[in-house]
Symmetry: C3
Subunit: 316 residues, 3 copies
């Protein structure tokens, strides 16, 4: 594996999930793999799970981890070509990425979308610039349009909890007070397709995701209908993709409640976290034994450790 | 030891101090104890000594340490139950604590008081929420009402410098331009009681500490009287407890000067640091050979290393 | 080596460069040298290369590295003596430096100049206060008037690329939208003198550097003339030293272009980074094969690793 910035970078999902499961059963089993290797983690945005689980995974592999908050600790970066840099941007990504590549062996980057400039967001300007100019493998710690490490953890979690070969998985929009990115639903939809599960996406009209990602997937604006026979409910808010970055509705009829969950086939409740209680999901559901958000978050460590393992083994 | 968030969590102070002294004489003596263990340090407030000494102690034990500044690097946390999270708080402590518990083996939390909401501060809402929802041991890196790691370092320091079995120890209020918490004097008063030393607390009228903590202790508003025959002077500012969080006086007659120290039995001068020169204490006293604030700060490493050792040994 | 805060601290440059070259050929060759040692890195200002390369170098040596952003994570420091600390500064450097010396084995400090208070900047108040009060070796991660780690990397880079014993090296001012410090040009001028290379400094009138540093060096305001027969062009902006901290000109005739480089003896282009494209240097030059800014940045790791090695060997 040379980079991991989208679910599309996964060659063999079954094999990757198997690797993650092996690592989970013996997380300290390869203490030499990361020896004398440095993982650089560059954050342009807040992070809890990704930050901690990725540090934990690198330590498990005997790898050193250096964390930088680029906005506050480094220099403001220019991403446009051929500009006269006479403004506030002190360093061009061309130099920054090449330089970082010399101090680190793998670099992870988190960069959220603007949610105002669709073209720039779709181009994944920040992460793809790192890919373009770095001489080391780049992993996404959540980009503008994808969160592939989350998706691997999600797939691992469903693999662990499913009781049938091809479970029905519902990705459902739920209300939230702020405009949120599409990265998590995009990567989840992609990895569910790879998993060949029975995926249904439910959202109010106007919240259609990028049709290139969802084509071939059942989509409905009837949440109750979608929940019938569901084995997994994956709740997530996102802003409008067509009316880019806008909040069209905060309809609390879409909040996941006990009544909604009663429509399912004893479905497990999933969410990538952080989650807004009593907006996305009721306390009752989140605190119930059907909620698997905590073990789902735990799998973040093994997902990223599997990716790091694939990259490190590739480099040997 | 399952948690360490208050001096009350100490079962056997003599034994703990003995452990700290042993560690001080051989800080790298247990390099395997922390192997493959992660200490997470979560800061809601600034820190110098606690931050560095705790990292140092964990490294001494072969333990990896991950530091996070929650306010700037993570998500804003909600601590209230049953709220509709439609405001600025992105994540509930319930999830955050459970998730962090999966990536770390011990978690330390620093959270200063509001000094405006006495009830919330007394409840130690932040640290106690971590204790409630975490599945790993929680240590306080200074809470709203206690700073127990400081207290252990203080007790170790007095143990090292005392020349009689039961020294006279004076905890004296001193002036400061800002409203300060009660955490340090509270924990110090508690650990002096445990140590069975002759503790006297001196402060101007109106600066009474929580009477539940000071009951049984000699209290006076005559600083000069208190200093007579004192073996240790522990200076510290705090705001009013009764008129909660208020500054009632900045009476510089309470500043610790050479003249004041002359009243004592060649007392050692102590302070938890950071200290305001020529407010709390004159340059002359702080720079004198009777000042032991620097070795006192050094003992922070061995105090926290002793606590981590107790927790790690417990987990084996 | 007891401290490294100026190029003047170098006893034997040839031997230091040799050490750096040896380290570069075998960066993991001394994994025990830093064992159980802690390097503390204290930043008052942003940093990318220094931050990452120094962490990398310490890890290469088996040394633990603790990073602190003093302004946001610690307490505001007072550097003046005999002040009544009743303002916003919570801790005096006297205590801070002594305390940090107990938790770390070496401390690095970055503190940029004010560019308004020449006397204070020239006194290197921050770094020299750490030197004065610390009981451990202090290294500069860039001070008000010098950036000696950069200079060692620069000297190593020229040593690697030069094709004659005594190359002609031109340090040239170039335009920049903001007022910049003199630290890099000062340290570069000093180390070029030590290297006994043929140094020429070119800048517009009014941009004279500190004459104590440049005395004996050829200085010109004719950039084209300076570039003739040059083997290395080191571009850098700085603000006025005489009209302290002021921008006197942003004359883009001083930008390093292909045409300017054509005047040289196929010179290599150097810059300490971050660099403003199309202000300091044109894209064409920076992206050409004559630009060695990326390997120059790579040498930061080996420069600081050589310094840490000298200090650690000294301490044995």
């Amino acid at each position: 594996m040379k980079k991991f910035t989208t679910v599309d970078d996964i060659n063999d999902l079954d094999e990757l999930i198997l690797t993650a499961k092996k690592i989970k059963s013996d997380p300290f089993g390869s203490p030499e793999l990361g020896k004398n290797k440095v993982l650089g983690l560059l954050f342009f945005n807040p992070s809890l799970r990704t930050r901690l689980s990725t540090q934990k995974a690198s330590l498990n592999l005997g790898m050193d981890c250096i964390v930088m908050n680029l906005n506050t600790e480094g220099w403001s970066l220019e991403f446009e070509d051929r500009t006269v840099m006479d403004g506030n941007k002190a360093e061009h990504i061309k130099e920054a990425a090449q330089v970082i590549s010399q101090y680190c062996d793998i670099v992870g980057v988190r960069s959220f979308p603007t949610l105002t400039d669709k073209e720039k967001d779709e181009a994944e300007q920040v992460i793809n610039s790192f890919v373009k100019y770095s001489s080391i493998p780049v992993i996404s710690l959540e980009g503008a349009t994808e969160h592939p490490l989350q998706a691997v953890a999600d797939a691992l979690t469903i693999q662990e909890y499913k009781t049938k070969r091809k479970p029905k998985v519902v990705l459902t929009w739920a209300p939230h007070p702020k405009a949120l990115p599409h990265a998590v639903p995009n990567s989840f939809a992609k990895i569910m397709k790879l998993s060949k599960y029975d995926l249904v996406i439910a959202h109010p009209k106007g919240y259609e995701l990028n049709p290139e990602i969802t084509k071939g997937t059942t989509i409905t604006d009837n949440q109750d209908e979608a929940f019938k026979n569901a084995d997994f409910i994956y709740a997530k808010n996102w802003s409008s993709y067509n009316d880019y970055g806008k909040i069209l509705s905060n309809d609390t009829n879409w909040t996941i409640t006990k009544e909604k969950m009663a429509l399912t086939n004893n479905a497990k409740f999933m969410h990538c976290l952080p989650v807004r209680r009593n907006m996305i999901v009721s306390d009752e559901v989140l605190d119930s034994e059907d909620s698997i958000v905590i073990p789902q978050a735990n799998n973040r460590t093994f997902a990223v450790q599997a990716i790091l393992t694939k990259i490190l083994e590739n480099g040997k």
